[in-house]
């Protein structure tokens, strides 16, 4: 009995020692880090946690030991967001994968009353730019052609995508339509599918007029010559898409894409926040990441710390404003 209590004492003191150890004092690298992926294994958020965070932060010697990846799916990331705010608010060893979908859902109140202020936005290290794509035999040659059809008779131009109605893929198309001066955004016929691949088959077969989605979803069909890109929603042409024109160069000033990023709990110290910002910055600047990023069809895009925080808020405001126009939110 005495032996047992001694053992318990030792174990407890070890645990408390580990917990008390100031992981953020000066140069010391943090240990026992965790990345929370708000969805199941495989897919965007899981990738963000497993590859740039877990794999590269350890490889680049930014953290001590391995980084644990935890999958927590539910409510389109809402479960993980709520978990971070309510029970991990001061956990300095935690970062969470995020993307444009996170911002969209915050803007549309899908996460209930949670706001962008409830977490700290760390940084982004890649972008899957939005694209508008048609089948290889489609009559539309330019974005103007498609927009004119949408203006004259939207019934003849069903649009497909992978997000739900009012979701990010749908909104990207509506941003183009709004820029083109289409007043009744609800007149655009949008049909959601389970994933980008299935939605793309709708334009390959000719059932749908156009597909709105992300670059990485279309590379395969594009290289096979089954689809054409009408526009990519980026500032500059995206190398992976060949000579595809940007929407901007065709007179539609719409930039949109699915960025890959991280947030951290709101209650962590400035030191800890500063550490995560610099760690993500270090990964984003590494040649290892450049290689893996390109392999996964992501374009270059970086934004950190305060800049990134402003970026996220601006996107949330944009999505909120178009969502109000659509009567999705009040």
């Amino acid at each position: 009995m005495k032996k047992l209590s001694v053992c318990v004492f030792i174990v407890f003191s070890m645990i408390s020692f580990v917990m008390i150890t100031p992981t953020w004092s000066g140069q010391k690298k943090p240990s026992g880090c965790e990345c929370l992926a708000p969805a199941g294994a495989g897919g965007g958020w899981d990738f963000t946690c497993r590859v740039p965070a877990a794999q590269l932060m350890q490889k680049l010697d930014l953290i001590d030991g391995a980084m644990k990846v935890v999958n927590m799916s539910g409510s389109g990331g809402g479960k993980a967001f709520a978990h971070v705010v309510t029970s991990r608010n001061t956990d300095e060893s935690l970062i969470v994968a995020a993307s444009a979908a996170t911002a969209t859902r915050l803007a549309q109140k899908v996460y209930g009353d949670y706001k962008a202020d409830d977490v700290r936005w760390v940084g982004a290290l890649g972008m899957d730019y939005g694209v508008v794509v048609v089948g290889k035999d489609a009559p539309y040659k330019t974005l103007d052609d498609l927009v004119n059809q949408l203006k004259s008779d939207p019934r003849k131009a069903p649009i497909v995508g992978a997000s739900s109605v009012g979701g990010w893929d749908h909104i990207k198309m509506l941003l183009v339509a709004k820029e083109a001066g289409i007043k009744n955004l609800r007149s655009i016929n949008y049909i959601p599918f389970d994933n980008g691949g299935k939605a793309l088959l709708e334009v390959v077969s000719g059932r749908a007029a156009a597909f709105t989605g992300d670059t990485s979803e279309i590379i395969g069909q594009l290289n096979a010559g089954e689809v054409r890109v009408l526009a990519v929603l980026s500032d500059n042409p995206v190398p992976a898409l060949g000579d595809a024109k940007t929407a901007k160069s065709q007179g539609y000033n719409v930039i949109g894409g699915n960025w890959r990023a991280f947030y951290a709990p709101a209650g962590i110290s400035d030191d800890a926040y500063g550490f995560w910002v610099s760690a993500v910055k270090a990964v984003a600047g590494s040649p290892e990441w450049t290689e893996l990023r390109e392999k996964n069809g992501l374009a270059e895009f970086t934004s950190f710390g305060k800049d990134f925080d402003t970026f996220v808020r601006k996107q949330i405001e944009n999505v909120a404003s178009i969502s109000r126009e659509l009567n999705i939110i009040k």
């Binding site: 294994a41 799916s73 009012g166 016929n189 049909i191 088959l201 059932r207 749908a208 590379i219 999705i328």
Partner: protein, 498 residues
Amino acid sequence: MFELLLNGFSVALSGLNIVLVFIGCFLGTVIGMLPGIGPINAIAILFPIVLQFELPPSSALIFFGGIFYGSQYGNSISSILLNVPGTSSAAVTCIDGNPLAKQGKAGPALAMSAVASFSGGTLSIFMLIFFAPYLSKLAIDFGPAEYFVLMVCAFTALTGFSQGSFIKAMFSAFLGLAIATVGIDELSFGGMRRFTFGIRELGDGIDFIVVVIGVFAVGELMLFLSDFASDKSQKIVPLNKVLLSFKEIKESAAGILRSCVTGFLVGVLPGAGATIASFLAYNTEKKLAGSKGKFGRGDLRGVAAPESANNSSAVGSFIPLLVLGVPGSETTAVMLAALITLGVTPGPTMLVDQPDMFWGVAASMFLGNLVLIILNLPMVRVLAKILLVPRWILMPLIAMLSIVGVYVINGSEFDLILMLIFGVVGFIMRKTGFPLAPLVLGLVLGGLIEVNFRRALTYSYGDYSTFYESPISIGLWVITFASLLVPLIFRFIKKQRQ
């Protein structure tokens, strides 16, 4: 093409891949056998390990493939022995498998399931190799309207239930449909929350596995407890017969073949799946057997058909995955997500860029099916003896597996509560003689039938003629009506003769 196939074999027979096929098939059988943990969760759990070892994409797919079709072998075992399907696609196997076990014929039922799985699996690999490019065209031609008609066709499987219980079967199926409506409606602006009663967790809908485990496994447990309390001590079923006779195989051969083709075609369509395949195959065989069959009361053909179909459907679902880069089922969706993380670009270029993947996987399936039949046939004797294990030992084990299997999906306690609720539902249904399989059918079809109906009508702006415009839809309507009318006509002719 032979060159490519030979190359595929050289990929499949390389040291690492042989080991992966073995481990995959073995794990698959076990995972399939255990109610709760299905291939989707197994692959999701194993994926980080694959990433850690930096396996090449073709090896990862060979491994995951082994787990997937291996689970279609194992899933009938608990259906037959315990009346609890290992995965949802084996829910149909319960209908005849479990009565067989109760008659002391667990051995032949298990052996038949292994033989049918092997035949269905192997034959479908040939179809995969020869017809993949043509069949991928079929996957493209299937639009929302065609899917809707296919689902209607699958629904006629309900008429396969005998007249007396037809109303009960309908009720059971509608309960499944109702459960499928719970959650956020992705097709409405702003995501309408349907039947969520303000409960946040219900927004994601009710996970399929939670319902299946609830009504089958937990329901069975409650039934056991109630029998135990009323002192109806379950007598142990003697094992009358262990081996399968050649005559029995011969009787089922045609059915296995037909089910294999049905299963494969349904598998090829991204958006149908193994569960629908097994229902369609069972229904066809039952209708063809007519009154001569003992379907529903323990017919070996009722085990052979769904098992052949769900295995060939698993193989078929690799066509959209590998030829088009589009996942054909939830399991292949997880596989594709894993491949993307490993750096594979999804799309039709996969076949050209990574020929090792298609041909390596096809070749490994031959090997895998051999491994599985060698693994499964001798196990029949051992497995059949599970029935001799006293229930008070077996039941707590099932309880444990159920809880783990449900918890592992989302790590949510709420799912466990739901599981218990559905357990009560399952218990009441069993007590009152409502069949459980139609509930699974309703649940699977519910979401698909609605979403495709609405997509098709959104395309056509509410014009219903979209449902009988294409030759595929018309063909499917013909099959649907034939399946409803032919048995009636036969019955009428028979009456006239008497």
